[in-house]
Assembly symmetry: C2
Homo-oligomer: 423 residues x 2
């Protein structure tokens, strides 16, 4: 039977050019986080179906690739519901598997546990340009550290990595879910409305103060609440480049709604990161930063790349999630790097992996004697042992065209071997 | 709902210790093959179900993890057969995806195309100790090179890799399917019996000449054929350490059944590999080497590690496979490294990844001022920028126990930071 040449819908083949960059990014991530004491782990790509459908995954649970039970003949006639056929699915993120892994192996793991995961995840999203149904995620988590040493280390390690990849002038935006909530409380919103209010607030950088005012008003919130809420953000505009000042202003204004701890948390993170950072970036307090996921319990942060118009990752503290799975709360904080987005940015910018300068081709005339071929291979071997890249290929009739093609593949030197050594 | 802590049946979590070794092996493989002009590629883990079930995969086709169709509600009542529910499956090897990839992208790829693939594959085998349902394969293939330059380069690159991983005194066993066939023809076996005869021959290293004789006889082959067949192997015993001699003996004895090309093929490979090899190993002509897969058309080879009692990979030439999928034959030769076996051997031998000597811990007293913490982090940052591994953790009450644990994790230096600098 003939082959279907195309990939399955929505997934992609990775070409050699891109693969070189992906391998390089993976090596930089592994190496940098390792310097900060993180260790890589891996979980199976297939997860128990119950773990994927226990309501912790939000909308992703609608996008699971489900796997048929194996080991017995599929019995269609007796199957009444999907659960009779399915016992596993492809993981849709790396968080559910991390929590399962941690609860399975906590006794064997260091405390705190600093985990680095890089792996594919699958989501049966509607196929669209630039979004694939299989993609790589890169998650870094610290489990068991309750102080903001976790946040500080995550931000230092992540920015060191991003910097090592050549990105400059990026920002880390910082906020705290407790700050968000106390601002909403101060304004007089009801607690059950917070998440809805934050959805509007999250659009601040796109629609501005006026847009946010209009949307909150459309959604039926009282003018009094909205005015009081927005007055905070207007006041904060005078602290644009003064995160410490902004946090202190909010701390004193919201003092009936906000614990001292939140102020200390944010100022400590800003002080420590600014003092110890390796990379060239700004740490910015951003009171409009929301981060969609409702499981965050404290600090939240995001990598912003203004010149590329968007976020390249983010994370925060989620002290109550592990307990929802296991019954025992464990302090937890994580950072997820937008791996595929970073690869896309590097590809588009024509990024060249460092140390790829000299690549040699040995062009071997066809029909050469075994002895002569051996001579050429010995020379190639000597160069390769020195760490040099040497491609040995047969010489084509159209040598000029062949060299042009090889030049496009990045080869810079050509050595020709003929049946008879040239005089 | 509570989490299922265990992995799905037959798949495993990878712990930090093993992951360090896996990452190292992957980096050595990538780096070494890259020096030989191989480029990494990747295909989706999910393949079209038709590609996985077109009879090229042998028994593996019985072990496919099948994936339910997505995007529409699963309609159990209308589904008459599995095909109504399934359109993809997890790949069971990397060869089918490689051939699909090559036929999809041949115009964009170099010719010859030297591909390196490392990726997970899945087989719903009965779970058993040391064999998992998800495991990593590492395949290296050259498509489009008809001469034995392909075999020579594959053997040189693979042995350089194995050598770089610290293995010594291993063997590459070499044979040619055409040699196997001509030996069987010379003995008088019928062509339709060859594969069956080879299954017995394959056991030579376990059951010896007598065992092979007995089994062939049990299987009903004539004494005349068996005696003539075995006389070849007896004669070959005097060429134990003389591959060239053995090939020349066979070539003259089998001259009515064997083309000169096969002799030249094997002797050229032996000469070139022995002259140009980087690693410390023996290239051995082994007329009993069979390699199970019937798709091989010429040279076959295997990595043998006598001290570990088994094979760590193998491969050969399969010039007719691509055509079976695509309708156009393309010369092809590949080597598959037994990745999981190599990891197991390294783990069991207590292998330590090079360059992991100095690992420092900063122990931070709890309740430290923000300023003091920042000082510690600045010091850590200075060491980390120098490439050193530094773990920053809070000091436990039982500092002695904590240091013992960290020592077990490979940390060698401990620096303590107290709330007040020591005088």
């Amino acid at each position: 039977m003939a082959l279907t040449k195309k990939t399955v819908t929505g997934m992609k083949d990775i070409m050699p050019d891109e693969m070189v960059i992906r391998d390089y990014v993976i090596s930089v991530i592994t190496e940098t986080y390792s310097r900060f004491g993180f260790t890589r782990i891996e979980t199976p790509c297939v997860e128990n179906i119950e773990n994927l459908t226990n309501k912790q995954g939000g909308d992703n649970e609608k996008l699971i690739f489900k796997i048929l039970k194996r080991g017995e003949k599929l019995n269609l006639s007796e199957a009444k519901e999907e659960a009779d056929l399915v016992d596993g699915g492809l993981r849709y993120d790396l968080t559910v598997p991390l929590v399962r892994y941690f609860s399975n192996h906590a006794n064997e793991l260091p405390n705190p546990f600093k985990a680095l995961q890089m792996g594919n995840v699958w989501r049966a999203d509607r196929p669209q340009r630039g979004r694939y149904r299989q993609f790589m995620q890169c998650d870094i988590d610290i489990l068991g550290e309750s102080t903001n040493l976790a946040e500080i280390e995550l931000i230092l390690a992540t920015t060191a990595t991003i910097g090592k990849l050549g990105f400059k002038n990026f920002e880390i935006r910082l906020n705290d879910r407790r700050m968000l909530k106390s601002m909403a409380a101060y304004a007089g919103f009801k607690e059950e409305d917070y998440d809805n209010v934050f959805i509007t607030l999250d659009k601040m950088d796109k629609i501005g103060l006026d847009g946010v005012t209009a949307e909150l008003s459309e959604n039926g919130y009282s003018k009094e609440c909205i005015d009081k809420y927005l007055s905070l953000f207007k006041e904060l505009e005078s602290y644009k480049n003064d995160g410490r000042g902004a946090v202190e202003y909010l701390s004193s204004t919201l003092k009936d709604f906000l614990s001292e701890e939140v102020k200390n948390n944010l100022t400590e993170i800003m002080d420590a990161v600014n003092a110890a950072k390796e990379a060239d970036f700004e740490l910015v307090f951003d009171p409009t930063l929301v981060r969609g996921m409702s499981y965050y319990t404290g600090t939240i942060f995001e990598i912003a790349m203004p010149e590329f118009g968007g976020s390249c990752g983010g994370g925060g503290r989620y002290d109550l999630m592990v307990g929802k799975f296991t019954g025992n709360d464990v302090p937890a904080c994580g950072f997820s790097i937008g791996f595929e987005r970073i690869i896309l940015l590097l590809m588009e910018s024509g990024f060249k992996v460092p140390g790829e300068e000299k690549k040699t081709v040995f062009l071997i005339e066809k029909g050469m004697s075994s002895e002569r071929l051996t001579e050429a291979l010995k020379e190639a071997s000597a160069l390769r042992s020195n760490g040099q890249k040497v491609l040995v290929v047969k010489m084509n009739k159209n040598k000029k065209f062949q060299k042009e093609q090889l030049t496009k593949e990045g080869y810079t030197e050509f050595i020709e071997f003929y049946r008879n050594p040239l005089n």
